[in-house]
Amino acid sequence: MSVSEATLPEAIDGGSGSEFRRGVVSCVPVLLGTIPYALVLGAQATQKGLSAVELPLMTGLNFAGGSEFAAIQLWTSPPHIALIVAITFLVNSRHFLMGAALVPFLGHLPQRKVFPALFFLCDESWALGLADAKQRADAGITPAFSLRYYMGAALAMYLAWVGFTATGALLGPMLGDVQHYGFDMAFPAVFLVLMRGMWKGTAAARPWLVSLVVAALVYLFVPGAWYVAAGAVSGLASAWLMAGDA
């Protein structure tokens, strides 16, 4: 189901339960790519000496997969606390931009709802929630951002992530390398479909191309996770420059 197909009929129906369910359903294709990674993270963590209690504590409180993979790669016994916390911050710094992109859609919500909802912000819940809000805005539906749709997608991700990382920790190293099976291609697939939904013409997409080229070059030539920050920032800089031309 695409985000566009998911949006219209039930939004008119408007029931709160159906909005939540719509979010859960839209998250199902994403889970297909997430669950194998959750199992692998769990298996890797036990090899590094984390217990089947400690790992779900991490994935449940931190809930940011990229930083958890980085932390487990760097894990020693005892852990190098400052290094792991710094890397976590670096890998997750893209959340600043993601939260900023949501701000125009959150004006109708009180802070007591926004702050708990933002705990569940991850690449997938953010992308689904934002793409849905943009399409509802184009369709003239107010408020454009559906908090229950977002929470449906976010809680499905959360339960799957914590549950399957714990399962991976229990099953341990009997799991092989998921890359052999192609599940990693689920993420480019999901992200490309979401970007098609945000497409506003070639000119508006030029910053995306800048991001792609810079992120790819940095990935190839600079070790570590710098490529996400470098790609995102250079794309934004080019958007800023191009807006000045107009």
Partner: protein, 99 residues
């Protein structure tokens, strides 16, 4: 089952991660953005998404690149679930037979 140093690391990780999640909202919620800043914010989601998946575009494995090309074409015309299924299946099969 839970070591003290491990617990401290996890709590600090969770703290800095939550700060990154609320940071953009806390800083921008009461501001009116200029036209230029709005243009930047509209480009931001796509810039973040494409940067995250950029490594797939420069894989050294021809099977991966071919699978990505198939997935890319699928993403331009199909909805989410068929695109994901085609992407996963093509990557799995091409790696098996080529890579």
């Amino acid at each position: 089952m839970i070591g003290a140093a491990t617990l401290l690391t996890i709590v600090l990780m969770a703290g800095v991660t939550y700060l990154t999640r609320i940071g953009g909202y806390v800083v921008l919620r009461n501001r009116t953005l200029s036209a230029r800043a709005t243009a930047v914010m509209e480009a931001a989601p796509g810039c973040v998404l494409i940067s995250v998946i950029a490594p797939a575009f420069v894989s050294r494995n021809p099977a991966d690149l071919l699978a990505l090309a198939i997935t890319f074409v699928a993403a331009t015309r199909l909805s989410m679930l068929p695109t994901v299924l085609i992407g996963v299946a093509s990557a799995g099969l091409l790696r098996h037979f080529i890579g």
